[in-house]
């Protein structure tokens, strides 16, 4: 009996009228936990009842405390007939089980009914007394802290990162049980809500146990998902990163940087770690204590094969013709290199053949010239290529393991690499769900790895043995792991998993970023206290993560390599795609931009295996085309790297919808991207030529516009360019700027797109026409707006505290039955563009503003319906201040760079002068701002003028009475892990809520939009109420995991399921004094190397 749960029902308010005769309600409350139920007295004839009940006490196992929610039901007493339920409140008491989180739950909760929505509020007090339980074989994992946040939580320091944890539980979906035919929709919904709540509790407990087994005390980047598999059941699964966290309780402010701004807090995370990998190697490589922890036996390979009869012929060995190495119905490695789309196909044919050179080879070998630039069209040729069988493919990847050692030379590094590798390789899955790391954690980043698998769902026969689903994921994770190996990486960061289900077909997807990590974070015992390290450590090179982890002579895919534009010592690819946030030490030019690739593909309706095969065959094409689109759009913005890449492929009955979102940036370490060149195949026709040159002009214009918009003005670096296959027919504007490149005093800058290896699009190809079309139909953002899908926007530092989190959902019905792929694509593209436009318009009063963490979720809920749900936060920033601080810090930063780098870098002069030079420190920034401001004010004016207030109505609002104080505290919500201008002082626990809402009076509730609008507002309200009751004032890392909407307008019915999660926190505003003291640091440039910051 290790726990006592106590609940007290205080009062209700705003209750609905349940008795029409008296216009009043005789309310009482049932409080239920497990199988125990208590009741309050009836409070007769009141809509605002005061129960003031005794403390109801439940004596329970802590296992139950973790699994079960406290269930509070408000009812209307009826003497003659059955009592009517008014509604329910489910309270997750998990936050009370950790001593560091909340201690009491107390507040007003909305009383929720799945048919009527929120019906009044109830004031409840909940406490838990836990007794210590030293039982070694315990089933509970009380005290393990869960965080949705995918970075190190602000008031903690990481003692150790243990690694990947995963678990899934399955059950029958109550909605599909036989009993559902006879029970009311309300009963069915409540059964489902309750079941899912139980399952999440159980899942969390089980994950917690694994964490304890590994010796950790917390899970970061906890990602829980539901798979509503319909007839075949309900799956709740979760992944996360197990860590040992230490609370930073009373750190002197001098040591612990205030989290007052994203830029700063990202740069100086409260991490106890030495960020420099170079000096580490002296430390003994203590093997991981928990390396040998075992996952459940169901994950063994033998199981995998035994379960493979359920996934039928979904992995045919004769892969349908598809693009290069990503082929294979289940496999799709997307290594994020332009080679994918710009290289001739002949390369993949050979690239597996050479054996990997062993250690030591790479560092000594001079870099070979980059592969010749191909001006060939790609897409058509790709189709014709013969692909490898999957087996060969995997074998080839397998060779990559360990092959990259010694590439960057020096015995220390080799040693380091080996250590890390050994530490990580002993783990089953060296995966990390984190997206944001302390400086020095990431040593190299290889690129995106992803895998998809199409499965046929089968009824889950025994909920206690979810091997099938486990085996499916196991399989995918193995693939991801081998892809990472092929990229010369031993770990995968920014890892996530998702599914898309349509009827009996399910696409499982996993993706992440292959990386090489600093092993110290994975080891215990070599960590010293946080403060000691900071002052001594030299900084790691800011460009380190860009350097290739794989062997350049034996690249897993063709790519252009050049020497790093920052350190000039190591090789970098020309484009880098990742799923993580921009590393804090990254040096970036200008601002970032949201980049989306959108694609629809029609599919014949089919059943079972045929359907699954059809989908499998389409997937590689879709991935390829999405990739091409991303690449084109990236070039159109003159950027060279993508962060936060998320590729969703959703399956519907008659189509597949693909949406890839990422944030493009210009990494200083990578070469400037070339432009886009359009080539026609039949140059005979004059009008055709005209057409092509028109398009080329449009593209060039867009590129140069984008350069101004994002303040990306890369320098031309001439010496490394080999050949320039594209005739220069463009206008050149000249600008002189000093930079130290090759000791030239002055060099010429080309403001049009770069002249080297331009990307060629051949428009004879229908796909290319489509590509160009989608390139040019992306509407520019209105001035004053920026957008990204990552945590922070590169190039913006001075956030104000004003923010607006929002969710927008749109469902489109395709009316034309005979749509072509192209028509469908255009519709989908317009849909997304219009949605973005609407958002900009809605949020126009916030400019200058950035939409951060723009998260699009697409679904095909029914035939002919496309649903897009967006959650993001709009944050305003202060342009003026940013610029001033920028100037102020410029010198400071330069000084630092000089002083710090002289000792360790070979080219100190180059570095210190080069760094600031490419900064958008040009007058263009100033004018840009003025323009923005001008538009802003004029817009306001027009708004005022536009409001036609009749004379008599414009009453003075000045002589207002003060409002009676509200009992509702403001709760902020954001998908980001921080709130600008504030410091998070406490994490109160995870918020993970699941709601169902149903209506049988759709028209009366304002149609589908009215219904959903109200439901989303209710969900927000319930999240806020729970956070407030925990004593919090904000939710960070908020996300809407699921929004499943179904309608039947003919029956006047609709149903919606929403799952949301986040971390409840208490934040405090940065005090005025702290703010001023911190100001210079706050705005310090991110694009200067982390070196400047580490010792700040």
């Amino acid at each position: 009996m290790p726990g006592k749960l106590k609940a007290k029902i205080v009062a209700g308010r705003h209750l609905p009228v349940m008795d029409r005769a008296s216009d009043l309600t005789d309310a009482f409350v049932e409080v239920k936990f497990g199988n125990t139920t208590f009741k309050t007295d009836v409070c007769p004839k009141s809509l605002n009842p005061q129960w003031n009940s005794e403390w109801f006490k439940f004596e329970v196992d802590d296992e139950d405390l973790q699994d079960e929610p406290l269930q509070i039901t408000v009812l209307d007493h009826d003497t003659y007939s059955a009592n009517d339920a008014i509604g329910k409140v489910y309270i997750d008491i998990d936050p009370l089980l950790s001593c560091e989180a909340a201690t009491v739950i107390s507040g007003w909760f909305p009383i929720y009914d799945t048919i009527h929505g929120i019906r009044g509020e109830i004031n409840v007090l909940v406490k838990v007394d836990l007794f210590n339980d030293l039982n070694r074989f315990r089933q509970s994992s009380c005290g393990v802290k869960f965080f949705c946040t995918t970075s190190i939580p602000k008031c903690y320091r990481v003692v150790m990162v243990h690694g990947f944890v995963e678990e899934l539980v399955v059950n029958e979906d109550p909605e599909y049980q036989w009993i559902d035919r006879i029970r009311t929709p309300r009963a069915s919904n409540e059964a489902r809500q309750r079941l899912i709540s139980l399952m999440s509790g159980e899942l969390q407990r089980k994950i917690g146990l694994k964490v304890l087994e590994m010796g950790g005390n917390a899970v970061l980047g906890y990602l829980q998902c539901f798979d509503l598999e319909g007839e075949s059941g309900l799956v709740v699964r979760a992944i996360g990163t197990a860590c040992t966290l230490d609370k930073l309780s009373s750190l002197p402010t001098a040591v612990l940087p205030a989290c007052n701004s994203p830029s700063r807090e990202m740069k100086e995370p409260p991490f106890s770690e030495d960020p420099n990998p170079n000096i580490h190697s002296s430390g003994p490589s203590t093997p991981l204590k928990n390396q040998t922890y075992s996952f459940s036996p169901s994950k063994s390979y033998s199981r995998q094969s035994s379960s493979s009869d359920t996934d039928l012929s979904l992995t045919p060995k004769t892969a349908a013709g598809a693009a290069s190495w990503r082929v294979g119905p289940r496999v799709s490695l997307c290594p994020s290199f332009p080679a994918l789309s710009s290289e001739p196909l002949s390369i993949p044919n050979t690239f597996y053949l050479p054996l990997r050179p062993r250690a030591g080879h790479g560092s000594a070998t001079p870099p070979p010239p980059p592969p010749p630039v191909s001006a060939q069209s790609n897409s058509t040729m790709l189709r014709k290529s013969v692909s490898f069988s999957e087996d060969l493919l995997l074998a080839a990847f397998g060779m990559g393991s360990g092959g990259s050692a010694g590439k960057d030379g020096g015995p220390l590094k080799t040693l380091l690499r080996q250590q890390t590798q050994s530490a990580l390789e002993q783990r089953e899955f060296p995966f990390f769900t984190l997206t944001c790391f302390p400086p020095g954690f990431l040593i190299h980043v290889g690129g995106v790895v992803s895998a998809r698998s199409v499965k046929l769902l089968d009824r889950i026969h025994n909920p206690d043995e979810p091997e099938t689903r486990d085996a499916w994921w196991e399989e995918i994770r193995q693939e991801i792991k081998s892809h990472a190996k092929a990229l010369g990486c031993h770990a995968v960061v920014g890892y996530s998993e998702s599914t898309s289900i349509c009827e009996e077909v399910c696409i499982l997807s996993a993706s992440g970023t292959a990386a090489i990590l600093n092993p110290k974070f994975m080891q215990e015992g070599c960590l010293d206290s946080y403060s000691e390290h900071r002052l001594e450590d030299p900084a790691p090179p800011s460009c380190g993560f860009c350097h290739i982890p794989y062997d350049e002579l034996n690249m897993p895919f063709p790519a252009h390599l050049t020497y790093c534009y920052n350190c000039r010592r190591q090789k970098v690819p020309d484009v880098l795609f990742t799923t993580i946030d921009l590393p804090v030490e990254a040096t970036v030019m200008g601002k970032g931009s949201l980049i989306q690739a959108r694609l629809c593909r029609l599919k014949k309706k089919a059943q079972g295996e045929v359907n699954a095969t059809a989908i499998s065959n389409l997937l590689p094409f879709m991935e390829y085309e999405l990739h091409t689109q991303l690449m084109n759009k990236l070039k159109l913005r003159s950027m060279n790297a993508l962060f936060g890449l998320r590729v969703q492929i959703s399956v519907g009955e008659n189509m597949l919808v693909g949406l890839a979102s990422a944030t493009g940036v210009y990494l200083m370490a990578l070469p400037a991207p070339g432009g886009i060149q359009i080539a026609g195949k039949t140059p005979s026709d004059i009008t055709y030529e005209q057409h092509i040159s028109n398009m080329q002009k449009k593209i060039n214009d867009t590129i140069s516009k984008n350069k101004d918009l994002y303040e990306v003005h890369p320098q031309e670096i001439i010496e490394e360019v080999i050949g320039s296959p594209i005739p220069e027919s463009r206008q050149r504007s000249r600008l002189f700027r000093s930079h130290s490149e090759s000791s030239d005093e002055v060099s010429e800058l080309d403001l049009s797109h770069g002249k080297k290896d331009a990307f060629v699009l051949e428009i004879d190809d229908t796909d290319a026409v489509e590509d160009i079309h989608s390139l040019l139909t992306d509407a520019p953002m209105p001035s004053g707006f920026y957008s990204c899908n990552t945590e922070i926007m590169p190039g913006i530092y001075n956030w104000t505290s004003s923010l607006q989190m929002f969710t927008s959902v749109r469902v489109f019905r395709l009316n034309n039955v005979n749509l072509t792929n192209q028509g469908l694509n255009k519709i989908f593209n317009d849909l997304c563009e219009n949605l973005l436009k609407s958002l900009y318009f809605k949020l126009r009063s916030m400019v200058p503003c950035c939409l951060c963490h723009l998260n699009f979720a697409v679904a095909v809920p029914e035939e002919e319906l496309i649903q897009v749900a967006v959650t993001a936060v709009a944050m305003t920033f202060d342009k003026e201040q940013a610029q001033e601080n920028f100037k102020a810090n410029m010198e400071k930063a330069i000084m630092k760079v000089i002083s710090e780098n002289e000792e360790q870098l070979q080219f100190p002069l180059e570095l210190c002068t080069e760094t600031p030079a490419p900064q958008p420190f040009s007058p263009s920034k100033g004018t840009g701002h003025q323009d923005g401001g001008g538009i802003h004010t004029s817009a306001r004016a027009s708004q005022e003028k536009g409001s036609p207030l009749p004379e008599g109505r414009s009453r003075s609002l000045r002589c207002m009475r003060p409002f009676p104080s509200s009992t509702v505290s403001v709760v902020k919500m954001t998908p980001l892990s921080f709130l600008p201008g504030t410091r998070i002082i406490k994490y109160l626990g995870i918020i993970n809520m699941f709601f169902i809402r149903e209506t049988t009076s759709l028209r009366e509730e304002g149609g589908v939009s009215g219904f959903l609008h109200c439901f989303i507002a209710e969900v927000f309200a319930m999240v806020r109420a729970h956070v407030a009751a925990l004593g919090g004032n904000a939710v960070v890392s908020y996300s809407m995991k699921e929004c499943v909407f179904m309608e039947n307008p003919n029956k006047n019915q609709a149903q919606c399921l929403i799952n949301v999660s986040g971390d409840a926190v208490i934040f405090v505003r940065e005090s005025e004094a702290e703010a001023t003291a911190a100001a210079p640091q706050t705005s310090s440039m991110q694009n200067l190397s982390g070196a400047a910051e580490a010792n700040a």
Partner: protein
């Protein structure tokens, strides 16, 4: 069209509301009309938004307002509800605008019974004023709602309205006037009264509420305690106490809406001013002596004195009749304002006349009803002065 929007919602953690769009909604515009007007307003060009964008935004906001409407019916709930997170100043704006009304509309229903029957007339009012039916309904329902709530409450009218509906002082006073007029059913619709604005009536209502209601007595007691005001007040006070031995604060205070019956009864005593010929002559000579040389229309004043005095006193004497109370304003216009206007008195003339007319009566030796007289004439004077315009 290849596709149609089936569903389109936007929900912010902080509820986004555009004041301009709110006004369109309040004015009863359809979504399409509102979009049209917004397009003409030029928002589009600034943000390169298409009609679709405006349509989507407008629909969203209309829906939000509709969902908020239930809360606006009991504004105190708005601050304590959990569904919408709205900053306090926005809440104030929402409420104030929701309860704002069109002068043209209120003139049509002022003094009418706020019943179902009147609601049917809303169609006609809508047609006549050009205010949409939807907006008329909202305004009418607001009047009715406020009326119903304060009807049953004790205490001062304006404060009650402010407390329950969280309105600004100005708007609360206007509502007090509307409630007061509706309760006493003052006639305001006659053609002869058309020149009067709602604000004219609201002013008069304020005068009546603070001087002629039973509640006014209580307030005056308060005032006397606070400021040691003149002998008149004290006298009045004494008088009130004599007549209502038990009527101290709590009993008195719910009487803001009804006129003080005792006072109306007392007004009959004023008839002596016109029935006693001596007194009438004396009164006239006092006034005329004082006015001579001070106005261009002296002759007309002298000639009309008796008619006007009779008119004012008769109005006072008849106020015990509910029917005559209703006709107070029409009587004032027909029997006083119109004769003066036809003689081309200026406002200053009227003020001069009424001042001396009121003050002289106090000096009449045989006139014993000074307190009642002052209480009556203070209000009548300020009402007439307010109403005396084109």
């Amino acid at each position: 069209m290849d596709m149609s929007v089936e569903l389109d919602v936007f929900v912010g953690n902080t509820t986004i509301m555009d004041e301009e769009v709110y006004q369109f909604w309040l004015d009863g515009y359809t979504v399409n009309d509102a979009v049209k007007v917004r397009m003409e307003g030029g928002v589009l060009e600034e943000y390169e938004a298409s009609t679709d964008v405006l349509l989507s935004d407008t629909m969203d906001q209309f829906r939000t307002f509709q969902m908020c409407e239930r809360l606006l019916h009991t504004p105190a709930k708005l601050a304590n509800q959990l569904l919408f997170q709205i900053p306090p100043h926005r809440q104030t704006m929402l409420i104030e605008r929701y309860y704002a009304f069109d002068n043209a509309f209120v003139r049509e229903v002022l003094g009418k019974k706020l019943s179902k029957g009147t609601k049917k007339d809303l169609d006609d009012i809508s047609a006549k004023t050009g205010i949409t039916l939807k907006s008329c309904r909202r305004q009418f329902d607001n009047f009715k709602r406020v009326f119903k709530v304060v009807e049953e409450l004790k205490g001062p009218l304006v404060e009650n309205i402010q407390q329950h509906f969280l309105l600004s002082d100005k708007l609360a006073r206007d509502y007090a006037a509307i409630v007061f007029f509706a309760n006493n059913r003052f006639e305001t619709g006659k053609r002869k009264l058309q020149f009067l604005s709602f604000q004219d009536f609201a002013f008069c209502a304020g005068q009546l509420i603070s001087n002629w209601t039973v509640g006014a007595v209580g307030k005056m007691q308060q005032l006397e305690r606070d400021t040691e005001s003149g002998a008149v007040r004290q006298l009045l006070n004494k008088q009130a106490k004599e007549k209502h031995p038990i009527c101290t604060n709590n009993m008195v205070e719910d009487m803001d809406v009804d006129l003080d019956k005792e006072f109306l009864q007392d007004l009959k005593d004023l008839k002596i001013l016109i029935n006693d010929k001596d007194l009438l002559d004396q009164h006239k000579s006092l006034v005329c002596t004082a006015l001579r040389g001070k106005t261009k229309v002296f002759n007309e004043m002298e000639a009309n004195f008796k008619t006007l005095s009779r008119a004012l006193v008769n109005i006072a004497a008849k106020l015990t009749n509910t029917k005559d109370v209703r006709d107070l304003f029409i009587d004032l216009v027909e029997k006083f304002i119109e004769p003066c206007r036809s003689d081309r008195w200026t406002s200053a003339d009227v003020r001069l006349f009424l001042t001396y007319y009121t003050n002289s009566a106090r000096t009449l030796d045989t006139f014993r009803h000074q307190v009642t007289w002052d209480r009556y004439m203070d209000v009548i004077k300020s009402c007439i002065l307010k109403m005396y315009h084109d």
